[in-house]
Amino acid sequence: MADRNASMQMFRVDARPTWCPGCGDYTVLASLQKAVANLGLQPEEVVLSTGIGCSGKLSQHFGSYGFHGLHGRSLPIAQGVQLANPRLTVIAAGGDGDGYGIGLGHFLHALRRNVNITYIVMDNNIYGLTTGQTSPTSAKGFKSKTSPHGAAENPIRPLYLALSQGASFVAQAFSGDVKEMTEIFEAAIRHKGFSLVNSFSPCVTFNKVNTYDWFKDHLVKLSERPDYRPESHLEALSYIDQFGGLVTGIIFQQEGRRAYHEENLGGEEIMPFDSPVKMSNEEREKILSYYY
């Protein structure tokens, strides 16, 4: 255990997080630090890419290489990094607005490519850093500054989306359960291919509906259902249906599928990230010969 603590320490930074006290994002941070430590990863081997918003700050508080980019764009950064150097462990993180609003297109495409990254969405069903507006996952009828009479839209349902588009790993975690969240993160990082972990991470300041207690009352743990089989697509869908998406655990995992960097032209070959390939004059002449 001593080693693990030392290892976890490596993924800590000095600057104190700027989240509100009680924010669910603290748990996400701690669970992620624990998960990478448990997996024996070194800080230089990991890249954490985030977008904008409270969730976006995760990269700043995590002691690996990181990229705090643009709203909704954590996945394109993560994909660029992963494809440039598949040896790295690449994690992308964002919020529900970031990932299912402005970044929804990137989400579906990264997923269908099956890029080898772990995507953590800190889902609090509201916009936090812009001080409390309706988010893509806010329930229909949800009242906020931008939906004073109740949201008119149906919420985005990320688990259905991921499953219907052929995601190879779909899970859901809850900030009220560090132990399970850590286990899920570990499994997601170990999974080769795209892993979605939708992580309920309550906003204690602006969301007075989807609170820790509310989640505790509503969430169903798949690990407490010993018969549940995460390899069954149909079972996954039926569970999500049955519990209105309020389940936690590994919902679906498909093993053995090739990741995008193995399918895409360059194949397994890792690109020269240390130095660009030097080209001989013969090679230069060979390229030119196509044009004579």
Binding site: S49, G66, P76, G80, G105, M271, R284, E285, L288
Partner: protein
């Protein structure tokens, strides 16, 4: 001495392939050619053409006039009437009802039942080979020169297809020989082996030589050819190409790959470039290298999507929110597309900022014979990076990615994978390490550090090019592709005794004011020639070097490249209306 040939018809009729075959044959036989194609934003139907100009010396422009017009339809004759001159020849398909050239004694006519002959051979599709044969006969071009090209093109489809095309070619050739007298012998050819290259291909090659190993792009005319090129070549060098879901993703993936240490780029055109603006700011702020190739055109949303234009200059110079350092390079010839794209990758890494290469449809999609491609001088080096040894010498956490102590503002970057070099690239203002800050003084110092990188930037003598009379009273100025027509116009003006010079701007940001100024000072009159409607380059010149009273504009924004005659007329004041600004 020169010849010009053009084939026109409906899109989907094989206009392109007809032109391509002839261009290949002419280039292989040692003729200097320039080939330009005009097309519409649809797949079948509409008017399209492919024009080839053949010269006894290097040629950079497709020419004002036309010797031989090969017409697959009536519209081709009407639309190209103005390019024909005394003695021009129209070869047209008289098996199609309704193609009837106007009676004009100046012109020679060669009606040939192209479609009918092709059908007789067994397949209407070889109509273009019959037409190639007739064209070859009119130009006194030997049929044997076509053999290797036909072999290459059709070998995959089997010997039967190869033979069918051979027959079609011969039939067209013989038909012309037997029925028509007009001959247009070609200019003398040299002994040099010539490469037939397009701007887009040279951009791709420049990127490869510049160390680019990752391209993410979204298909968009006229930039898609760059993506095709990279798909073909990059995998051989450990590189990867991703067709992104949109230009936003494409550009940001390229930033991600650059952050991870691989030289990466995206290629696009105006509308896609608009979507990338946010990402340009991100690359500037996080000090991540980024190369964007913008092949300009009219663009859907603002103009003629398949026609050439230089209307993205302001977007390249100023696009994106906030303020960041950036470099904008503008090649003016097909060969320069290679040169400047190569340097874009070097500069992006050296200065850790976005570098934009602005070409345009005319440069990107036209093809020319080139005898001056020397690739041996393009060698890449890595720049502005911290080594593992240096990191190992530091205490843990001591490495400061955005070190303010660097005089030139360029703080060496580490790459994921390097021990003791971890940092978070932050899109918000940050301290020397990676902590977000809002302290006014630190903000100012970080901001200044970034802008300091390019404070003394000078690309060197190649930032500009100057041709003509040094003490001239007229100075022509351009950026990008109009250079080719201007060079010829200048040639004509000089021969007529006019004291004139041409200044070509190739680096527009940071603006090489010190280099440009003397030319504007000496000139009595300055005419800025550009393919846009508001005179963006003229505005930039006024802003950077002044001389507002001297600067006039010649603008063209109708989708058609300038003609030499138009420029000469404008200079001679015969068409005053063409001046603006």
């Amino acid at each position: 001495m020169e010849r010009t040939w053009k084939v026109g018809g409906e899109q989907g009729e094989g206009i392109d392939s007809t032109g391509e075959i002839l261009a290949k044959v002419l280039n292989r036989t040692g003729h200097y050619i320039f080939a330009y194609r005009s097309f519409m934003s649809l797949i079948k139907g509409g008017h399209t053409y492919y024009k080839i100009r053949i010269r006894d010396r290097p040629v950079h422009y497709h020419g004002d006039q036309l010797d031989i017009l090969l017409a697959f339809d009536q519209l081709t004759i009407e639309m190209n009437w103005s390019e024909l001159h005394d003695g021009s020849l129209i070869i047209y398909d008289d098996s199609k009802k309704g193609i009837t050239p106007k009676e004009d004694k100046r012109l020679a006519l060669a009606p040939i039942p192209l479609t009918h002959m092709a059908k007789e051979l067994g397949n209407e599709i070889v109509k273009n080979m019959v037409a190639c044969g007739a064209s070859a006969a009119a130009m006194d071009l030997s049929l044997t020169t076509f053999e290797p090209v036909i072999e290459e093109l059709f070998a995959k489809k089997g010997e039967k297809v190869v033979e069918l095309n051979r027959q079609a070619l011969r039939k067209g050739f013989e038909y012309y020989r037997e029925n028509f007298r007009e001959r247009f012998p070609l200019p003398p050819r040299g002994n040099k082996k010539l490469a037939l290259v397009s701007g887009n291909e040279m951009t791709g090659l420049g990127a490869l030589l510049g160390g680019c190993r990752f391209l993410a792009a979204y298909p968009i005319t006229p930039a898609t050819e760059i993506m095709y090129w990279m798909l073909r070549f990059l995998p051989n060098y450990g590189g990867r190409v991703v067709q992104a879901e949109d230009e936003i993703a494409a550009c940001i993936m390229a930033i991600g790959a650059n952050y991870a240490g691989v030289r990466a780029a995206t290629s696009t055109s105006g509308p896609g470039f608009s979507l990338m603006q946010e990402a340009i700011g991100l690359a500037g702020m996080t000090e991540t290298p980024l190369v964007i190739i913008d092949v300009q055109r009219g663009g859907p949303g603002t103009g003629l999507p398949t026609k050439t234009e230089q209307s993205d200059l302001n977007e390249m110079l100023y696009g994106s929110h906030g303020e960041i350092p950036r470099i904008v390079l503008i090649p003016s010839t097909i060969e320069e597309s290679l040169h400047f794209t190569f340097h874009a990758f070097e500069l992006a890494e050296k200065y850790q900022c976005p570098v934009i290469v602005g070409t345009d449809l005319y440069l990107g999609m036209s093809k020319k014979s080139s005898d001056s491609l020397d690739l041996s001088n393009y060698q890449v080096k890595r720049h502005s990076m911290v080594t593992q040894e240096e990191l190992d010498r530091l205490e843990k956490g001591e490495y400061k990615r955005y070190n303010l102590g660097v005089e030139n503002g360029i703080s060496p970057r580490s790459i994921p994978g390097q021990r003791n070099g971890r940092y978070v690239a932050l899109s918000n203002e940050h301290d020397e390490g990676d902590v977000e800050i809002e302290d006014p003084d630190l903000r100012r110092r970080m901001f200044d550090k970034r802008l300091r990188k390019l404070a003394g930037f000078d690309f060197g003598p190649e930032s500009i090019e100057w041709i003509g009379e040094r003490e001239g009273d007229l100075l022509l100025v351009c950026f990008g592709s109009p250079r080719v027509q201007l060079e010829e116009a200048l040639d004509r003006l000089l021969r007529e005794g006019r004291k004139a010079g041409l200044l070509i701007l190739k680096v527009v940001k940071p603006f090489p004011a010190v280099r440009v100024k003397p030319y504007l000072e000496r000139a009595k009159e300055v005419l800025v020639v550009e393919n846009n409607g508001t005179g963006q380059l003229a505005q930039l010149l006024r802003q950077e070097v002044g001389h507002h009273d001297k600067i006039k504009s010649l603008l063209r924004y109708d989708g058609v490249p300038f003609t030499v005659q138009q420029i000469v007329d404008a200079v001679q004041g015969e068409k005053e209306a063409l001046y603006h600004g």
